[in-house]
């Protein structure tokens, strides 16, 4: 788990943002791949069939707030019901705890081969690496996750993990790893993945899943998938381990039903995902299928740090991905530039909170605050406001470069003093015009990121203040 004691971690994962963004902006393949997806368009069509989308959004935010307001009570209620139904509930304070608990379960049950359906929390803890280091075979089964695993990479989007890959990339990976003739048709590639993964589903001994929600009322785990790998993972292997954050608890099945209307529409535009699975405990007497053991690992790993603070609203997140799908920055640089598990606006809020704001200084700043994310968020997380608050925390903790701090102070000092301000801007207007020259355009300002990609229209030589005073006099 990332330390947040104040010490800046060298080589922290979310540092180096600018360099990674630069690489991605200049990677033609990634740029091409990112433009293949239009999840924003899909969402727009998806919400159009709700005649009161904004009212449902308000209700969904209230449901999430109700969960967070009494979080311990709902979690205790979940634990009580889940335990009664035969689920073993585990608690992980740190990322290391998650990996330790999974490894213990795997050893105790004597499994060798593990199949996984998507779990972003397991990405936080690098669970696959930990399991492989202990000699377990781990296969990701979500098609996007599988592609990313074959490539030895991390997901670049929370619901479309391989959004940065083209079909040619996938064709190369499959030919190399499956040792089959190279195919380039997307349908054929999907079929080939189905064939190879089917073998894994049937031979997997442990299934690891995430959890979209856990339900306090019934002690159930709720999973939303389209491919069916979530169902396979929770039905076929003899042990099922689900990993989810403490914030994912919902009071009732009705609450889940309300939120599902927004989750799938916000994510992919679908009115519902193909599979919504509610698992409550292991195989029951007489059942012909289902796991013999069901475990749920409930994870803190930084989440309680947000509770009761001005960051709590971020814990409402239901992981639909709409904020990144609508983010002009994400759309251009992709998920890997963000450096940690959650990219886009929600990542720019969660990452500094989870791994320490000193370890992700760029993230809350690398946003235009256009609020497209806040407007589409199905649970009304005020993402730009939270990023702005993180910027304030950076200033309070002296994490901004001194030039920037000094510049702001000087400017604010001047702007407080209209006489001096008027004089300074008068000079700046004249200087700007003379730099602008005949075409009234500044082409280069040393040390200023603006002119790296843009010209700067030059000031006209006199300020409004001067011209207005002249006009009044005349």
């Amino acid at each position: 788990m990332g330390a947040s004691s104040g010490a800046r971690t060298m080589n922290a994962p979310a540092e180096g943002f600018k360099a990674r963004a630069h690489d991605k902006l200049n990677d033609a393949k990634v740029q091409r791949a990112m433009r293949n997806f239009n999840l924003a368009g899909a969402r727009a069509r998806g919400i159009a069939d709700l005649d009161n989308f904004e009212d449902i959004r308000t209700a969904a935010a209230a449901i999430r707030d109700r969960s967070l307001a009494s979080l311990d009570l709902w979690l205790a209620r979940f634990e009580q019901e889940a335990t009664r139904r035969g689920t073993k509930v585990h608690w992980a304070e740190t990322h290391a705890d998650i990996n330790r608990i999974v490894i213990e379960i795997a050893r105790q049950t004597g499994v060798k081969k593990i199949i996984k359906s998507k779990s972003m929390v397991s990405e936080e803890s690098h669970l696959n690496d930990a399991l492989e280091a202990e000699g377990f075979k781990v296969v990701e089964t979500d098609l996007g996750e599988y592609i990313v695993q074959l490539a030895g990479e991390k997901p670049s989007h929370i619901i479309a993990p391989a959004i940065h890959k083209t079909r040619d990339d996938v064709a190369d990976l499959f030919a190399e790893h499956h040792k089959t003739p190279r195919k380039s048709d997307i349908g054929e590639l999907t079929m080939e993945a189905r064939k190879f993964l089917r073998e894994h589903f049937l031979s997997g001994e442990m299934g690891i899943s995430g959890g979209n929600f856990i339900i306090a009322e019934t002690g159930s785990l709720l999973l939303v998938t389209n491919e069916g790998n979530g169902r396979m993972t929770t039905t076929l292997p003899r042990v099922h381990v689900a990993i989810t954050g403490i914030e994912k608890v919902l009071p009732t099945l009705e609450d889940a039903s309300c939120i599902l209307r927004l989750l799938t529409r916000s994510a992919t535009g679908q009115s519902i995902s193909n599979y919504v699975t509610v698992n409550t405990g292991p195989k029951q007497p007489g059942d012909l299928d289902g796991p013999e053991e069901m475990h749920v690992i409930i994870v803190d790993a930084g989440r309680t740090k947000l509770l009761g603070t001005d960051m709590q609203e971020a814990l409402r997140c239901i992981r639909c991905g709409a904020c990144m799908n609508h983010c002009p920055v994400y759309q251009n640089i992709g998920g890997h530039a963000y450096g940690w598990v959650y990219p886009g606006p929600i990542g720019s809020v969660l990452t500094p909170n989870y791994i320490g704001i000193e370890n992700a200084v760029d993230l809350p700043n690398a946003a235009t605050l256009c609020n497209q994310c806040g407007v589409v968020c199905p649970v009304k997380i005020p993402l730009p406001d939270l990023m702005r608050k993180l910027r304030e925390k950076q200033v309070d903790r002296g994490l901004r470069p001194w030039q920037e701090r000094l510049g702001l102070k000087l400017w604010a000092w001047t702007a407080q003093r209209p006489g001096i301000y008027a004089f300074a801007t008068k000079l700046a207007a004249r200087l700007g015009r003379s730099i602008g020259g005949a075409d009234r355009t500044i082409h280069r300002l040393p040390g200023n990121g603006w002119t790296e990609g843009r010209d700067m229209p030059a000031p006209k030589g006199k300020t409004f203040r001067e011209l207005y005073a002249e006009r009044k006099r005349s």
Binding site: N365, T368, N371, Q372, K409, N448, G449, R454, R465, Y468
Partner: protein, 247 residues
């Protein structure tokens, strides 16, 4: 409308003051055409947004309190910018929460602060604009104006009154241009790339000019268009409505 003139305080904004005074004079002309009695407080400088968005809360607070005091006596405050008017209306209450004694004044200011086109359409009910324009325009919705001030139909309604002007909508007028205040300087490469999408969208309309309501977006889009060698003109909506596109 009664004989009583609307008493308007014009908040010119620091960017207009320094970079493009013609926008301020256009706003003045439009407000006067709408029969308003306009004052321009001379001590005004900046709304504090750059400091607010950079996390320097103390600096932002001192400037915000200055604005609150400067416009205390104006019946309305009108701003030729969605982002500066949005700063006042949508953020001052939160920014000045530590000053509970200021609260009534802050709320009074927020309630009577308007973005220019919103004010012209919904308060002053301007029904004949002075400008004329020969050509095709496309309109970019600046983020703050759109999402904080609800500015969408107002500029289009006014542009619709301009003789000779045809409006060709771009595919995604609500998509951010990539400006984002200091973002454009700190993350110039990303910002320019976002601006590219806007430039492509503008080009695909074949418009002679792109019109918008915020000088920040304007500098960004104009700067990127120029760098790309694209000669499409960029105007503030006030310049077009006032017929002051040559100044």
């Amino acid at each position: 409308m009664s004989d009583q003139k609307l008493r308007v305080g014009l908040f010119v904004t620091c960017l207009v003051d320094l970079m493009r005074p013609s926008i301020g004079f256009s706003a003045l002309k439009l407000l006067e055409s709408a029969g308003c009695d306009v004052t321009v407080p001379t001590s005004q400088t900046c709304c504090g947004q750059p400091a607010y968005n950079s996390g320097d809360r103390a600096a932002a607070q001192s400037l915000a309190r200055k604005v609150v005091a400067e416009f205390r006596d104006c019946e309305y405050v009108v701003v030729p910018s969605g982002s500066c008017s949005g700063m006042i209306r949508a953020h001052y209450a939160e920014l000045l929460a530590e000053f509970p004694a200021d609260r009534p004044e802050v709320e009074r200011l927020s309630a009577r602060t308007y973005e220019l086109t919103d004010f012209l359409v919904n308060v002053a009910k301007l029904d004949r604009v002075p400008g004329r324009f020969a050509g095709n325009c496309t309109y970019h919705d600046s983020c703050s104006g759109l999402r904080e001030m609800g500015v969408k139909k107002q500029p289009r309604a006014l542009l619709g009154q301009v003789p000779g002007l045809t409006l060709n909508e771009m595919a995604t007028p609500e998509y951010c241009c990539g400006f984002g205040g200091t973002f454009a300087v700190k993350y110039g490469e990303i910002s320019a790339r976002i601006a590219d999408r806007k430039c492509e969208d503008i080009a695909s309309t074949g418009a002679d000019a792109v019109v918008l309501g915020d000088l920040g977006c304007m500098l960004n889009i104009e700067g990127r268009l120029k760098r790309r060698g694209d000669r499409t003109k960029v105007y503030h909506v006030a310049e077009v409505l006032a017929g002051m596109t040559d100044e």
